[in-house]
């Protein structure tokens, strides 16, 4: 087991990031997906992760959602450890109960929406608030309706997912995640499974979130134009490492590393 004594029990100081990956390592057997990842996301910041297939982008988000356990290092959210919990003055791997509480500050949208098929759009958005946060049905309904209006889905609130288009399902999924009032939102290729003509309705919702709400967001996308428009920072992943990171302007117009240049020109050629 790794020695965790050098990791702080809590992050303190003036600029505590909303998310901090500290020496994070992820392996599957002998295969190292991410090695010694260090990444901070400030409160209210929108960071987009780009990179070739298999570079570990999804894994970064899934580790933050605690859907994957990590094999080294510690992840902190809002100054508190996420993957670990303090015990007798040191960090130990978090147990199920701690994880359930800790991950409630994180919301995630998936490539394939994963709406609950046996519930209407409204019920999907009420499920977490009622069952997890303990809101009354009435409060949860008001919250869900407000969010469904925000994503433009209030007219379809009583429809089941099977009756909705991909773009509509994804917007409901965004509302469902937001209904939990997360501090951090994760978007993993949320437009990749959509028909080209409905991509805009989903990206517009995300743009809205960026401009009108002070959410911290971490996004993986293959849509470079969209990433450039809305991100505060872009991280280019290659082979399980951050090869280069910068503001969108800098990274897209003036990439420093050869691999970044290759990747960006390959993406441009494909467009």
């Amino acid at each position: 087991m790794q020695d965790l004594s050098s990791y702080p029990l809590e992050l303190t100081g003036p600029d505590v990031p909303m998310v901090r990956f500290m020496n994070v390592r992820k392996t599957y057997g002998d295969f190292v997906v991410l090695d010694d990842l260090n990444l901070d996301v400030a409160a209210g910041e929108m960071v987009t992760v780009i990179g070739p297939s298999g570079s570990g982008k999804t894994t970064v988000l899934r580790m933050l959602m605690t859907l994957e356990t990590i094999n080294g290092g510690v992840i902190y959210v809002d100054g508190k450890p996420l993957t670990h919990m303090p015990k007798n003055g040191v960090l130990v791997p978090a147990d199920a109960k701690y994880l359930r509480k800790a991950r409630s500050s994180i919301g995630m949208c998936f490539q394939h929406f994963n709406l609950f098929p046996h519930m209407t759009a409204l019920e999907n958005c009420m499920e977490g608030p009622v069952q997890v946060l303990g809101l009354s049905k009435k409060e949860a309904r008001e919250r869900a309706e407000e969010l469904l209006s925000m994503v433009g889905m209030i007219e379809k609130k009583d429809q089941h997912p099977a009756r909705l288009s991909g773009g509509q399902q994804q917007r409901v999924a965004i509302a469902r995640a937001l209904a939990m009032r997360p501090k951090v939102m994760l978007f993993d290729e949320v437009t990749s499974a959509l028909d080209p003509e409905v991509i805009g309705e989903v990206t517009n919702v995300i743009k809205d979130l960026v401009t009108k709400h002070n959410l911290t967001m971490l996004m993986v996308t293959h849509q470079m134009g969209f990433a450039r428009d809305i991100s505060d920072r872009i991280c280019f992943f290659f082979g399980g490492k951050i090869e280069e990171q910068n503001t969108p302007e800098e990274l897209f117009t003036n990439p420093q590393k050869e691999r970044t240049q290759q990747f960006l020109s390959a993406v441009k050629a494909a467009d």
Binding site: L67, R100, R103, M108, F116, P117, H118, E127, V132
Partner: protein, 221 residues
Amino acid sequence: MTYISFLSEYGGRFLDGALVTAEQFVCSLALAVFLAHLAGLLLLSRTMVLKAIAVVYVEFFRGTSLLVQLFWLFYVLPLFGVTLDPFLTGFLAVGLNTGAYGAQLVHGAIKSVPRGQWEAAYALSMSSSKRMLRIIIPQAFVIMLPAWGNLVIELLKSTALVALIAVPDLMFEAKQMNSSTYLSTWTFGTALIIYYVFARFLITPTMRSLERIMARRMGRA
């Protein structure tokens, strides 16, 4: 004697028998559904002891004959001082046996609910029991319903075996009437028709409408 007069003389006994068969059916079905879900969930358990109990139960009741299980409960348990009346023994055996098959359906259906559903529920911070009860089982139910349709009909057919421990069900009555009248064609023929009507006009339509209701709940109808 014509078939009409045969029926008017023995119809009451067919009815009595059919009623007992129906009671056996309902009791063993309730037991089987309960055990199937319990064992199906235990098969997924990470606690080795619980999982082992479920594996042994499923393996034992699927791997041995229902008739032997029935006789074992009826003739062997009393040697250990446990005597159950025939009706109870009958539906216990059929319920235990069908429950073992059902456990595999439940287990398989739960496993075939897409991974994304588990992950979405997890991302909402749902506890594992709520995730199972509110998200996974309702979807697993829809997946396994068609297979249960077959299993329920199998269960009905299995109940005929309880006649062998003298539960006065339809089969038992038919055998009794046959040995006093020697009208095998009519006695067993009538029993066959009653079993068929039960399966074809009661069970099948019920299962179909259940499937329709569930499809509507999923927004698919």
